[in-house]
Symmetry: C2
Subunit: 190 residues, 2 copies
Amino acid sequence: MENLLRYLNTLMPLSDESVAALMPALTRQAFRKNEYLLQEGQVCHSLFYIDNGYCRSYHVIDGIEKNTGFFFENDIATNINSFGSGKRSELNIIACEPLTAVIIDRDQLFRAAAQAPEIETLGRLCIRLFASKQEEFSTLFKLYSASERLEYVEKHHPHMLQRVSLTQLSSFLGVARETLSRIRKRRAVS
Amino acid sequence: MENLLRYLNTLMPLSDESVAALMPALTRQAFRKNEYLLQEGQVCHSLFYIDNGYCRSYHVIDGIEKNTGFFFENDIATNINSFGSGKRSELNIIACEPLTAVIIDRDQLFRAAAQAPEIETLGRLCIRLFASKQEEFSTLFKLYSASERLEYVEKHHPHMLQRVSLTQLSSFLGVARETLSRIRKRRAVS
DNA sequence: GATATTTTGTGACGATCGTCACAGCGCTGA
DNA sequence: TCAGCGCTGTGACGATCGTCACAAAATATC
């Protein structure tokens, strides 16, 4: 919990009352490797604050997993669409390592927001940050080629390369595993 | 203004007090074709509710415009990153036709939210909807090929095809104009 | 309505990518 | 220690894409 509260405080300073109002919305949970945080078809009614370990989100298209995001320590993972609309999730979120998360329950969060206006603002900030990250990777695909996308991740998210396998990364970057392997080779030569 | 208020009411019912609190944040403005709503290097301190006409957002990479979004009547256009963080915008938003928008000023909006808690909630809803749209097009690129992306737009956003030129659309779909032309040709045959 | 400008179609060609196939490497567990 | 498994590298080949070039069609402008 301490990590989460420290994180939230970097977003905005929270009064003791707001923290007290927030507490009932929080649950700590451990996940084994390859255990689902969210599964296709379920409704997402949580924000997952990643305390330790990391997870990935992916769609299954024609039986093939396509990664759409990685979430590491101090990130918040969720399906913003399902979370907001109450529709069933079309994507999965799965632990890539043993993982511990603080689960922020949607309904309890709304109850807390009704009590403490700071929580409402906090929720807005969280969603805005999530939206900014979405935008970052959305534009990445519209603006750059596969090799430029790799460069971007190397420069701006080096930790991702250290923890994610080439196979998983290639799915995220939208290219075949072999292509990513060759991109790296081409650069090593020049 | 009426259109905007009708739109906001579909998101959540607003009391007369909330509407009154919101009014000072609103300005109606007309833009000529090719006039900027937001220019690279500026800080985005507005949400643009599109009342009439449409606009596009684009980045300039190596002197080439790359479209990242189109915004039509009843959409809200903004740079969520710049709007939220106060950093300078890296993208442009420009009118593709004569356009009228209702400009929602950021600072005034925050003042209104401090007065009326409904406005805070409304702001959160707007941002969440914006985030959902971002996610939609973000996954579009990660999951599908160029021709599948065209299919998706044809099915889910047909109005876009009717109003946007092939050249502009190809930039948005991340392929060369010629490629998009050939994709359409290939399908017409089969 | 004639002209200028923009938009779209198409051919050619080289570069890149996806797919299939297989080999090597490192880690894990019996 | 050795077999099994997952991850990565690489070769071959066909498909697709980007680029340059130019013609045709559609649209805008006066």
